[in-house]
C-alpha cells in the first residue's frame, strides 16, 4: 500500500471512530472501523499512543465528544424554539441522530442543517408535538436561509407606481432571493412569537397556516400571511404575470368587488416596502 493510501486508511478509520454517535469505544468496534484497522480493537495503542494521564481510547474520545458537542451547538443556535418545543434532551437526541445520518459535506456550517426539518418529520412521526416542532423548525431554517441569501437591490414602491395602469396585468415581478414562503400544518409562527417573548402558550391545534420569511435591512423577519397572499406570492415567484397570479390566487376570496383592488394595493405596497420585489418585466409592445 502506498503512503497516501496508508494515510487515507488511518483517516477513514479515525473518522469512523470519532463520528460514531455512541462514542469512540463503540466506534472502534464497528465493522467499518475493524475492517479499516483490524488490529486496533485488540491493541488500540498500536495505532494511538497513550499519555501519562490518558489512555488511547480516552484521547480518541476527546475528538468524539467534541464532534457532536460542536455540531449540536450549531443546531441549538439555529433552532432555539424547536428545542423549546421538544425539550432539551429530546432535541439533543434528535440532533445526534441527524448528525450521524447526515454528516456535513460542506466547508462551511451554513448548510449543515438544511435537511433538519425534513429529518424531524420522519424522526418524530407519531410523537406529541411533532407537527408543531416540524413547522417551527421549517420557519427557523427559513430564517437561516434568508439571512445568508444572495443580495438583490429591492425595487422601490416608486418603480411599481410607474407601471401604466393598462400594463399591470401583464407585468411580471421578480422576487428577492431572500424570501421563503411556507405552507404549514399549524400556526407555528404565532407560537414562536409567544415563546420567544417568554409568554405562556398552549400547543396550537392543527390548521393550515402560511408564513413568509424574508430579509429586510440585513435582518430576517417572519410574518403570518393569508392563503391568498401565499398563493399570489408563490405564483409571482414562478414568473406568472400579475393579472393571472391575482386571478388564480384571489378568485375564491370573499370580498366585495370594489374592495379587492384596495386590498391588492395594500398588499403590494407592504411587500414593496419589505423589499420583496427586485425587478419587473414589462410586457413587450409591438
Amino acid at each position: 500500500m502506498s503512503g497516501a493510501s496508508e494515510l487515507e486508511r488511518l483517516q477513514r478509520w479515525m473518522q469512523a471512530v470519532v463520528m460514531d454517535p455512541h462514542g469512540a469505544a463503540r466506534g472502534l468496534a464497528t465493522v467499518r472501523a475493524r475492517t479499516l484497522m483490524p488490529g486496533a480493537v485488540a491493541n488500540l495503542e498500536s495505532v494511538v499512543t497513550r499519555s501519562r494521564r490518558q489512555t488511547a481510547l480516552e484521547r480518541l474520545g476527546v475528538y468524539a465528544g467534541m464532534y457532536y458537542l460542536r455540531l449540536i451547538e450549531v443546531l441549538t443556535a439555529e433552532y432555539p424554539t424547536t428545542r423549546e418545543v421538544l425539550g432539551a434532551e429530546a432535541f439533543d437526541r434528535a440532533c445526534r441522530v441527524f448528525i450521524a445520518r447526515h454528516p456535513s459535506t460542506q466547508r462551511t456550517l451554513q448548510s449543515l442543517s438544511v435537511g433538519f426539518p425534513r429529518f424531524l418529520k420522519r424522526h418524530l412521526k407519531g410523537r406529541r408535538n411533532a407537527r408543531l416542532a416540524v413547522d417551527v423548525a421549517r420557519i427557523e431554517r427559513a430564517m437561516e436561509d434568508v439571512f445568508d441569501a444572495p443580495r438583490a437591490e429591492p425595487l422601490g414602491h416608486e418603480a411599481l407606481r410607474t407601471i401604466p395602469a393598462e400594463s399591470w396585468a401583464e407585468v411580471r415581478l421578480k422576487l428577492t432571493p431572500a424570501l421563503r414562503l411556507l405552507a404549514l400544518d399549524c400556526p407555528a409562527n404565532e407560537y414562536m412569537t409567544a415563546v420567544r417573548a417568554r409568554r405562556r402558550v398552549r400547543t396550537p391545534r392543527a390548521r393550515p397556516a402560511y408564513v413568509m420569511v424574508y430579509r429586510h435591512r440585513l435582518r430576517a423577519w417572519r410574518m403570518t400571511i393569508t392563503r391568498e397572499q401565499f398563493t399570489l406570492l408563490t405564483l409571482l415567484g414562478k414568473g406568472q404575470p400579475i393579472g393571472r397570479a391575482v386571478y388564480r390566487s384571489c378568485r375564491s376570496l370573499r370580498v366585495p368587488g370594489q374592495r379587492l383592488p384596495v386590498l391588492l394595493s395594500e398588499w403590494f405596497r407592504a411587500w414593496s416596502a419589505a423589499g420583496l420585489f427586485v425587478a419587473l418585466e414589462l410586457p413587450l409592445r409591438s
Binding site: 502506498s2 503512503g3 497516501a4 493510501s5 496508508e6 494515510l7 487515507e8 488511518l10 483517516q11 477513514r12 479515525m14 473518522q15 470519532v18 463520528m19 495503542e45 498500536s46 495505532v47 494511538v48 499512543t49 499519555s51 501519562r52 494521564r53 490518558q54 488511547a56 480516552e58 484521547r59 480518541l60 476527546v62 475528538y63 467534541m66 464532534y67 460542536r70 455540531l71 454528516p103 456535513s104 459535506t105 460542506q106 466547508r107 462551511t108 456550517l109 451554513q110 448548510s111 439571512f147 445568508d148 441569501a149 444572495p150 443580495r151 430579509r215 440585513l218 435582518r219
Partner: protein, 285 residues
C-alpha cells in the same frame, strides 16, 4: 537569532496587535472604531453568505488590515483538493484585500465528509510528502503563501516517526509556506503529550513565522482543551516572550471565541502583549 519586524521570508509586515472579528462586536467596532491594529476573520464565516456579516466586514475592511484564517482547508486530508472552495477563499481575499491567508496543519474530514474539527496527521515521511505537494498546489492556486498554524492536538499516532515541531519545520521548508505560531496550542499540545514546550519551540524556523496566536484554554487535569474562552495564562505568556526573543516583533492576535467578553476586555488582554514587544524592542536596540 532575532529577526527585524519584516525579516520574514516574504517581507510580510508586522501588523501589531489584533483580535478576531466576531459578530457580537460588530456594532461596537462600527460605532467606536477602536484603536486595534488589525482584525483576523474566520474565513468560513464570510463565504456562502451575503447577509449581515459580510456587510459589516466590508466596512471593517475599509479601516483595518484584515487577515484571513480558515478551519476547513483540510490540507492534510487524502480527499481531492476542493478548488471551488479555494476559489471562494480567493474571491474573499480580493474583496477584503487580505494581508495574508491561512489555515491549520491538519485534516478536517475524508470521504467527502467534514468533521469541522482539526484532526492531527501522523508525522511520517508519507504524510510530509502528501502535505508538501498539497500546500504547493494550494499556494499556486491562491497565488500567495499559505500561513499554516500548528494545531492543538489531543492524540498522537504510533506511526509518527518525528516530533510535530520537526514535521512543521520540514513542511514549511519543503512547501515554502509561512507559519502562524499559536503559542497557546504549543502549550496545550505539550501538556497533552507530556512534552516540554520550550523543546517544541526550539527548532521552529522563525524566519517563516509571520503571525502569533494567543488564547485561553481549559485545563481538565488529565488534558487541556483549546477552548479560546478566557485569558491567556502566565505559562503561555512565557512562551510568547520566548518566541518574541527568537523572532522579534511579529503580528500577534488574541483569540477569544467562547464566553466572549466586551470588546474592551479583549483590547486590554491583547495589549498585555505590547509589554513583551516593547521590552524586547529596547533589548534588541
Amino acid at each position: 537569532m532575532t529577526f527585524s519586524a519584516s525579516a520574514n521570508r516574504w517581507n510580510l509586515p508586522d501588523l501589531g496587535l489584533g483580535v478576531g472579528l466576531r459578530t457580537v462586536h460588530f456594532r461596537h467596532i462600527l460605532e467606536k472604531w477602536p484603536r486595534i491594529d488589525w482584525f483576523e476573520i474566520l474565513s468560513e464565516n464570510f463565504i456562502d453568505t451575503e447577509g449581515r456579516p459580510l456587510y459589516y466586514l466590508d466596512q471593517v475592511a475599509e479601516r483595518y488590515p484584515i487577515v484571513m484564517h480558515g478551519v476547513s482547508l483540510s490540507v492534510g486530508s487524502t480527499d481531492p483538493i476542493d478548488f471551488a472552495f479555494l476559489a471562494k477563499l480567493k474571491a474573499l481575499a480580493r474583496r477584503v484585500d487580505a494581508v495574508w491567508m491561512g489555515d491549520h496543519i491538519c485534516w478536517t474530514g475524508v470521504a467527502g465528509v467534514n468533521g469541522h474539527d482539526l484532526y492531527p496527521v501522523p508525522y511520517t515521511e508519507e504524510s510530509l510528502r502528501h502535505m508538501v505537494e498539497r500546500v504547493r498546489t494550494v499556494q499556486d492556486f491562491l497565488e500567495r503563501p499559505l500561513v499554516l498554524e500548528n494545531p492543538s492536538t489531543y492524540l498522537t499516532f504510533r506511526a509518527s516517526s518525528m516530533p510535530e515541531q520537526e514535521f512543521i519545520a520540514r513542511l514549511a521548508e519543503a512547501a515554502d509556506c509561512a507559519l502562524l505560531l499559536d503559542v497557546n496550542n504549543v502549550y496545550v499540545t505539550c501538556r497533552n503529550h507530556d512534552l516540554d514546550p520550550f523543546d517544541y519551540l526550539s527548532p521552529i524556523p522563525y524566519e517563516r513565522v509571520v503571525q502569533i496566536h494567543l488564547a485561553g484554554h481549559t485545563d481538565l487535569g488529565t488534558h487541556c482543551i483549546d477552548t479560546h474562552n478566557g485569558r491567556v495564562i502566565d505559562a503561555v505568556w512565557d512562551l510568547y516572550a520566548y518566541v518574541q526573543g527568537r523572532r522579534g516583533n511579529t503580528a500577534t492576535l488574541l483569540e477569544w471565541d467562547a464566553d466572549i467578553p466586551k470588546f474592551e476586555t479583549l483590547e486590554r488582554e491583547v495589549r498585555r502583549a505590547a509589554r513583551y514587544r516593547d521590552t524586547l524592542r529596547v533589548a534588541n536596540a
